[in-house]
């Protein structure tokens, strides 16, 4: 039954979503569903994954598989999981890494456990999944990895340098993967969103032209799986904004509170 359904996917649209329950991931997954893709959703909560799977099937996905996995805890087994997921989908074309943990800088400063969680979630575990996906793509000479980084990774700032450093490191890692994959035809992309109106950012003051919706970012993630360079800002205007932020000299920057 499962193999039959997988065989029905003729287009190169077999997708693994890591952190599938995030608002941005759901938006991207719905685009794939509408295209008739086969999806494998990974997150911790099986009950929520089941609800999302039913929704994506109703929206047109030919196959929706789920895996209740703690992506931080299981990172060392990434190659094994990734190979199994590829098998369950009958092939692997795109891997989206969307999970992450914002935390707060003040807690990270005070608590080694919080600092470890931020670096593990956003960097240490993430690169294991990226490498596992890239190894498959390298071997099959096709496929794309799209990992969600952040504009916070472009310059260390007093308000969130733990998160920023981890996300910035992830982008560097993915950039390196893109370089190494280039001769094979496979791709890797780090997408750097700015402010996104999701539960992760609840508690911040929202609204205004610099805030994007999860749907906007979801569309960018979907497009990044098909084309574009290894570092993509989401939306694109953040490239210019961050170029300016990066070029502010330290003696000026240190007088700000950002």
């Amino acid at each position: 039954m499962q193999a039959q359904a997988a065989a029905a996917v003729t287009a190169s649209n077999r997708v693994v979503v890591l952190g599938a329950l995030s608002a941005i991931a759901i938006s991207a997954a719905r685009i794939y569903a509408k295209e008739g893709a086969a999806l494998l959703l990974v997150a911790r909560n099986q009950q929520r994954l089941d609800a999302l799977a039913a929704d994506l099937k109703a929206r047109g996905a030919v196959l929706v598989e789920t895996a209740a996995v703690d992506l931080e805890a299981e990172a060392m087994s990434a190659p094994v999981h990734m190979a199994q997921w590829k098998q369950r989908l009958g092939g692997l074309d795109h891997v989206h890494l969307v999970y992450g943990y914002l935390g707060t800088q003040s807690e990270a400063t005070a608590s080694p456990a919080e600092l470890a969680r931020i670096t593990s979630s956003n960097y240490a575990s993430a690169v294991q999944w990226c490498e596992a996906a890239a190894n498959i793509f390298r071997k099959q000479k096709s496929g794309s990895l799209v990992a969600v980084s952040s504009v916070a990774g472009d310059r260390g700032r007093q308000s969130n340098y733990a998160y920023g450093a981890a996300k910035g490191g992830l982008a560097l890692y993915v950039q390196g993967l893109a370089h190494s994959l280039a001769p094979t035809g496979a791709r890797a992309v780090a997408v750097k969103p700015g402010f996104v109106d999701t539960p992760m950012t609840d508690g911040m003051k929202k609204g205004g032209p610099m805030w994007a919706s999860p749907d906007q970012i979801g569309r960018i993630l979907r497009r990044a799986a098909d084309k574009g360079g290894p570092i993509q800002y989401a939306p694109g205007k953040w490239r210019l904004v961050m170029m300016i932020v990066r070029s502010v000299p330290a003696f000026v920057f240190h007088k700000t509170k950002v």
């Binding site: 329950l21 608002a23 909560n45 929520r48 609800a51 039913a54 929704d55 109703a58 539960p199 609204g207």
Partner: protein, 441 residues
């Protein structure tokens, strides 16, 4: 992790008259709901959706609201049966994206697709096909309701709590999911035609005739012309085409009002000119035409935030229904008062409701004619005009639509809704709204 209630000044209704502060929770998963709906010492809460209700039925100033729009998953959809069960925050727009390609449509739809399923049930919304399909509640087969006492109920037609919840303005409990029966369509395109009438008295015969031949009908009215041209307008009518084109609408609006319109933009002259141009455009279109459902059923959804047209003071909408026996005289009288007042109404819509039994205790639709129009908020002047209109509606045996209202008195509400006393018994004591506190007396 529990979902927090966070302070926000961003919650407004579509009319934008009331500026208030709320504490907002934005759940995304069903398992988060019980903790949010549980009775709290923080006072009554209110579930809200896409906030297309115009007045204050979707506001709970200085209180808690549960924004349901993050719960937008389809739970089950039978492509062969047309039965869809989905979380209450799913928009009609999103539902159509799934229904239409499979050859189904909403059983009925209001003039905007940016309404949640929960909102469609809580307001028992109606559409251009009311004379054939009844209100939305007539096609609802099941509802999951969570009450603040911690109880959960799966309700079906016939269950008294079901009929209190349909049209119940979100006051009987939190609607977690809705199951409804969609309607078969042979195409996403409509065969439409327009008929002009020079005076509102001619509307009634034209409409009665159109109902025998068309599934969808509605009329636009020019509220500014009086005398021999009082309530001149155009009746549009349509049936689904048979051409098998099942392309759904595009999801994004093409245009948007970026900012509030300045005051002068809505002067009487400007509105008159707008209505006149609209009228001429309609007149030029003679004979039948083909229209996708999107522009025909949702003309205003093309412009995101069109409510900003009325400027920063916001606007009121006035929608009443008058029974068949008094509708002809009553509508004419209403239009006379409106024309004489010179208080511009951007849009006026006239539509007949069929003789369907109401689906809910507080359902607005009843057999007769409904008139809907907007008034820019000009303070006391506008309220006085609407109070004058209330008296006409009251003496004609009519009533007002709670989803549109932001100011009627408890007496006016009670007079229009004879089942109000029954309804009170089903209200969840842990829920309330600004509207309810005003009209419940």
């Amino acid at each position: 992790m529990t979902v927090p209630f966070l302070q926000s000044d961003a919650i407004a209704s579509w009319g934008r008259v009331v500026r208030a502060s709320h504490r907002v929770a934005r759940p995304r998963f069903t398992d988060e709901l019980p903790a949010l709906i549980a009775a709290s010492e923080a006072g009554p809460a209110l579930p809200i959706g896409l906030r297309r209700s115009y007045g204050d039925s979707n506001l709970n100033p200085d209180g808690r609201v549960i924004d349901m729009t993050g719960l937008d998953r389809v739970i089950a959809f039978g492509r062969e049966t047309g039965v869809m069960r989905a979380e209450a925050g799913l928009s009609l727009s999103q539902a159509l994206q799934i229904l239409v390609p499979a050859g189904w449509f909403l059983p009925t739809t209001p003039g905007t697709r940016f309404v949640t399923l929960g909102g469609a049930v809580a307001n028992d919304v109606h559409g251009k096909n009311h004379h054939s399909a009844g209100s939305f509640g007539a096609s609802v087969t099941r509802i999951k309701l969570l009450r603040t006492d911690g109880s959960a109920h799966e309700l079906a037609p016939g269950d008294p709590m079901f009929h209190a919840t349909v049209g119940g303005l979100g006051l009987t409990g939190l609607i977690a999911w809705v199951e409804f029966r969609a309607a078969r369509i042979p195409s996403a395109q409509l065969d439409a035609q327009d008929a002009e009438f020079g005076h509102v008295r001619d509307y009634f015969d034209i409409a009665a005739e159109a109902h025998t031949r068309f599934e969808h009908t509605m009329a636009w009215i020019d509220c500014l012309s009086g005398g021999a041209r009082l309530g001149r307008g155009v009746l549009s009518a349509a049936n689904w085409r048979q051409d098998g084109d099942l392309t759904p609408h595009r999801e994004d609006p093409k245009l948007a009002m970026p900012i509030d319109a300045p005051g002068f933009a809505l002067s009487r002259m400007a509105i008159g000119a707008f209505n006149s141009i609209f009228h001429d455009l309609k007149r030029m279109r003679t004979g039948p035409y083909v229209s996708h459902y999107e522009p025909f059923l949702y003309p205003l959804d093309k412009i995101a935030h069109w409510n900003r047209l009325y400027g920063r003071d916001g606007f009121y909408q006035y929608q009443c229904v008058l029974p068949p026996t008094t509708a002809r005289e009553g509508v004419e009288e209403l239009l006379k008062v409106i024309a004489a007042s010179g208080q511009a109404s951007f849009l006026a819509v006239l539509k007949d409701f069929g003789a369907h039994a109401p689906a809910g205790l507080l359902s607005f639709p009843m057999e007769g004619t409904t008139l809907a129009l907007d008034f820019r908020n000009q303070g006391e002047r506008t309220l006085t005009l609407m109070a004058d209109l209330d008296r006409i509606v009251l003496s004609a045996g009519g009533r007002l639509y709670p989803a549109k209202d932001g100011r009627i008195s408890a007496a006016m509400f009670a007079a229009g809704f004879p089942k109000l006393q029954d309804f009170r018994g089903y209200v969840d004591p842990g829920l309330s709204s600004a509207f309810w506190r005003r009209v419940a007396g």
